[in-house]
C-alpha cells in the first residue's frame, strides 16, 4: 500500500506537469479558432458574390466559435488539474461531458441550420457545398462522452481511496 501511494504521488506529479503544457496548447488552439471565426465575419456582408456563400460563412463562423469554446473548456480543465492535481472529480466529468456535447452540436447543427436559414430566405441552395454532418466531430463528441464515463468511474475509485485513508 505504501509503494502504491508513492506511485500515485509520482503519477500525479507527472500529470500536473503535463497538464500545464497541454493547457497552454489548448489555449493557443482557442485563440487560433477564435481568430479564424473573427476572420470570417467580414464575409457576412451583403456584398458577397454568391448569396449562398454568406450562409456557408455563417455555418463556418459558428463552427469556429464553438470549437474555440470547446478548446477553452479543455484548457480550463487542464489548468485545474495542474493546480489541484486531482483528475478524478465530478466537475471535470461535467466539463468533459460539455465538451462532448459541443462537438456533437458542431457535428449536426451549424450546416443544416445555415441551409434551413438560406431556404427560408428564398436563396438558391444548389451551391451549398459544406457537408451537412461532420463525421469526425460526431466521433470526437462520442469519444469525449465515453471518456467522461471512464472519468466518472475514476471519481468513484477516488472516493473509495479518500474514505479508506
Amino acid at each position: 500500500m505504501k509503494q502504491s501511494a508513492t506511485d500515485k504521488n509520482t503519477i500525479i506529479r507527472r500529470l500536473r506537469t503535463g497538464s500545464i503544457g497541454i493547457c497552454v496548447f489548448y489555449f493557443l488552439l482557442t485563440i487560433f479558432y477564435a481568430e479564424r471565426g473573427i476572420g470570417m465575419l467580414p464575409n457576412l456582408k451583403p456584398e458577397a458574390e454568391l448569396e449562398i456563400y454568406r450562409y456557408e460563412t455563417i455555418s463556418q463562423t459558428v463552427t469556429y466559435f464553438l470549437m474555440a469554446a470547446a478548446m477553452l473548456l479543455a484548457a480550463i480543465l487542464f489548468l485545474q488539474i495542474a493546480r489541484k492535481g486531482m483528475p478524478f472529480q465530478d466537475q471535470h466529468v461535467r466539463t468533459v461531458c460539455i465538451i462532448g456535447v459541443l462537438f456533437l452540436i458542431i457535428a449536426v447543427i451549424p450546416a443544416p441550420a445555415a441551409l434551413l436559414l438560406a431556404k427560408l430566405n428564398g436563396v438558391d441552395t444548389a451551391m451549398f457545398l459544406s457537408p451537412l454532418i461532420s463525421i469526425s466531430a460526431l466521433l470526437e463528441g462520442f469519444l469525449m462522452l465515453f471518456i467522461a464515463q471512464i472519468l466518472h468511474y475514476g471519481t468513484m475509485l477516488q472516493l473509495e481511496s479518500d474514505e479508506t485513508l
Binding site: 500529470l15 503535463g18 487560433f32 483528475p87 464515463q149 468511474y153 468513484m156 475509485l157 481511496s161 479508506t164
Partner: protein
C-alpha cells in the same frame, strides 16, 4: 462503503462495457476504412496518368495527388500503430468493464506517440526538403513548418490527449489496485 456506492459502481462498469463494445466496432470500422483508403491511394498513385484524361471535375478528382508511396506507407504504419493499441484497449474494456490497468495505460502511451509522429511527419519531410534544396536557416522557411497545412494540429491534439490519458489510466490503475486490496 455503502451498498449504493457499490451498486453505482457496478452500473458504471456495465455502462462502460456497453459503450466499449460500440467504440470497439467503430474503431475497427475506422481501421478498415483507413486500410482500404491506403490500398486505393497506393494503387492509384502507381497507376496515375501523366495528364488529365479530360477537363471534367471527376477527371480532376482522379488526378489528385495523394503523396508518394513511401509517405503513404509510413502514414499507414503510424495509423496502425495508433489504432491497434486503441482497439486492444477497447476490447479489454468491453470484456471486463474495468478501464484502469497498467496495460491500458501503456497502450494509450503507444497510441499517443504514434499520433505525435503522424503530426510531425509532414514537418520532417518538409524540413528534409528544405535542407536539400533550400535555406533551412531562413526564419520564414522555419515559420512555414508550423503552419496548419504542414503541422497537423488535430493529430498533435490527439497525441497530447492520449499521452495524458495514459498517465490518467496509470493513476486509475493504482486506485483500482487499492480498491481491490481493500475489498
Amino acid at each position: 462503503m455503502d451498498k449504493n456506492h457499490d451498486a453505482r459502481k457496478q452500473q458504471t462498469n456495465a455502462s462502460i462495457r456497453r459503450s466499449g463494445k460500440i467504440a470497439l466496432v467503430i474503431a475497427i470500422l475506422i481501421l478498415l476504412g483507413q486500410i482500404i483508403s491506403f490500398l486505393y491511394k497506393v494503387t492509384f498513385t502507381l497507376r496515375r496518368p501523366d495528364t488529365l484524361e479530360d477537363e471534367s471535375f471527376l477527371s480532376y478528382l482522379n488526378y489528385i495527388r495523394y503523396g508518394t508511396v513511401p509517405d503513404l506507407i509510413v502514414r499507414i504504419i503510424l495509423t496502425l500503430g495508433t489504432m491497434i493499441p486503441v482497439i486492444l484497449l477497447l476490447r479489454d474494456i468491453s470484456r471486463k468493464g474495468l478501464p484502469f490497468t497498467i496495460q491500458n495505460g501503456t497502450r494509450m502511451f503507444i497510441a499517443g506517440i504514434m499520433q505525435g509522429l503522424l503530426a510531425l511527419l509532414p514537418v520532417l519531410f518538409q524540413f528534409v526538403q528544405m535542407i536539400r534544396y533550400g535555406d533551412s536557416s531562413d526564419s520564414s522557411s522555419l515559420a512555414y513548418l508550423i503552419q496548419p497545412n504542414v503541422l497537423n494540429y488535430l493529430n498533435l491534439s490527439f497525441c497530447f490527449l492520449l499521452l495524458f490519458l495514459a498517465g490518467l489510466f496509470r493513476y486509475g490503475a493504482a486506485l483500482q489496485q487499492e480498491s481491490d486490496e481493500t475489498l
